[in-house]
Amino acid sequence: METDVKLTKLAGCAGCGAKVGAGTLVHMLEGFRTHTDPRLIVGYDKSDDASVFVLDENTALIQTTDFFPPIVDDPFLYGQIAAANALSDVYAMGGEPKLALNILCLSESMEQHTVQEILRGGYDKAYEAGAIITGGHTIHGAEPIYGLAVSGFVHPDKVLKNCGACPGDVLILTKPLGIGVLTTAAKADLVEQPVLDRIYAQMARLNKAARDVMVKYQVHSCTDVTGFSLMGHGFEMAQGSGCSLHFTTAQIPFHQEALPLAEMGFIPAGAYRNREYAEAGVTVTCPDLSLAMEDLLYDPQTSGGLLFALPKDEAEKCLKELKKTVPEAEIVGYVTEWKENYIILE
């Protein structure tokens, strides 16, 4: 359903493209007094997707929040995408979301039915995830914002950090890239409706199915590829793991329609922030890698897929099982001991 005022027109930047650069965030958090607690096994010092606090020998609490301005004009779809994106951080830690709180900012021109539809989209995804929205907080502001604060649970021994990748692992990515470029080009009406429908469905898709398969295998490390792009999140995984991540660029899944649009400069500003943050950690060894393809690797993804590392001998079997519910999943690279740089594009 289209609203009277186009939601995306109320937003300065769209979806995860609005995310503040990783480099900026690191500096903002420097020098604060914080308590330490041995039960906090993943905190903000780790640049991970969520925090993890051990409650007892069988249970750890995962907490995360994510919200952004409208990335689509359909309010129900916007609610679904924002919720799927927020819930994803729990899946990326290997956990299951259980409780959530709405975070909502309304701009004056929004009508009541628009707001209801956004919330309905959020509740729809929370229900699909098996989580309960127990409340929230709503304010007025210049541009609309929606998202969730999510709590989930995981066994303390099964937490999937973004820093556990090991030499010999293979990397699997579960959703194709190009969302930032396509949603930017959509603002110029340059994306055909079937392509838009495809990426909208992808963004609204929970990472639950991918997580449910992934946790059956000996996965060493996982993150979700969102605002910081494949390169940004990959860089964090490599840095945290002290390894090199080698990406076989020809195998990285992306929406084909995004490539010519990237060539034409329909690239969200967030992609340049990601490049600035991660580029020094990336070495390109394939001479035929086009600038447009490189731009897609730095493209911020809204509600992107999981990127995870697992032993080579398990990867084929895992991929085969994944393909049944997550057909876009692909093996995109492998992990070695650190050599030359954190990310190697081959």
């Binding site: 930047c13 930017t184 080009a185 110029a188 060539e263 690239i267 500003a269 340049y272």
Partner: protein
């Protein structure tokens, strides 16, 4: 030479403005933007349309010249 002032605008507006202007098919254009992403994006657009692009930076503003 046609000059497009895209200061104060963020992606993808400057590219859309440049695209509209270039529809007239002239051999040279000038564009002013005030952020890095817009400078990069309009450079890519110009190059994709077969223009040679040169960039001059003054303070926080970029003046781009597109020539065929």
């Amino acid at each position: 030479m046609k000059t497009i002032d895209a200061r104060g605008l963020s992606c993808p507006e400057p590219v859309i403005m440049l695209r509209k202007a270039m529809a007239s098919g002239e051999n040279a254009y000038q564009l002013i933007v005030d952020n890095h992403a817009s400078k990069e994006n309009t450079t890519r657009y110009g190059q994709s349309q077969g223009y040679q692009v040169s960039v001059e930076m003054q303070g926080t503003e970029y003046t781009l010249t597109f020539k065929k």
